[in-house]
Subunit: 154 residues, 2 copies
């Protein structure tokens, strides 16, 4: 015999993989570039600011932000530090609980994210939704769900 699953993908698998891979690289590159150029925000800026915008008073604790954005605490901490430096948020010790921090949207941060939302929607439409037929959109949604959950072995 030659090989069971083989050393590399067969021709069909390879076609799917290459199309997928190249498209993903292109897509995220376009999204990051447009977001940056149209709003001055990066992907993580956008994720954090929009989480804060949906929170009451525009304020959340870091671990809550970490759950919403699915960023590890260290990555989140570093990024929050940079965002404080740019005036988008503030980090203050929580008055009641000592050992706790609280992240708050500044007016500049609020202005930035509210201005960015429609831009972002336009980017998503332009690079993802518009090129697809309605059938392809639903297919993509289903495919995404299929790739998501099993998690048997994280």
């Amino acid at each position: 015999m030659h090989d069971a699953p083989g050393e590399w993908l067969d021709e069909d698998e390879d076609r799917t993989w290459r199309a997928f891979f190249e498209t993903q690289v292109l897509f995220w590159r376009r999204m990051a570039r447009d977001l940056q150029h149209d709003t001055g925000l990066s992907e993580p800026d956008f994720a954090i600011l929009s989480a804060l915008l949906e929170a009451p008073d525009g304020a959340l604790r870091p671990y809550e932000l970490s759950e919403v954005t699915d960023y590890e605490k260290s990555r989140l901490h570093h990024h929050l530090t940079r965002m404080v430096g740019r005036g988008l948020i503030t980090r203050s010790p929580c008055p009641d609980t000592p050992r706790a921090a609280i992240i708050t949207l500044t007016p500049e941060g609020r202005a930035a994210i509210t201005a960015a939302l429609p831009q972002r929607a336009a980017h998503i439409r332009r690079w993802l939704l518009a090129p697809l037929t309605p059938a392809q959109r639903t297919a993509l949604t289903e495919i995404s769900h299929h790739l998501q959950p099993p998690l048997h072995n994280p």
Copy 2:
């Protein structure tokens, strides 16, 4: 009227976007983690080493690597520097043409990439191909191609 395209995505668009977004994040996280843990290589390591492996004598000039991998020259240069430091490749001045460099696979680099190829194929099967039905695979291939080319306005 309320709004033409609106400030954010409508419910249906949002469902597609969220499913897509979250799945992509998860997918690339899994792929990078598995590649790292099973082979000690990062995504850019893998891309560069497999390009070199397919080249005659396992050697290419940086600008050729840049075309194959679609990395900007600066990113490529920095990464090559790190890879030289790890002994995966060598960078030598090209004998005939002065101002040119030549990147060569070391025995360690060749061993690393040949060991990594089947691992990588297994990761792709596990996280992308296996969870999908044959129909979904072909749909994904087509969707990827639809998202690719237009480029009207880079």
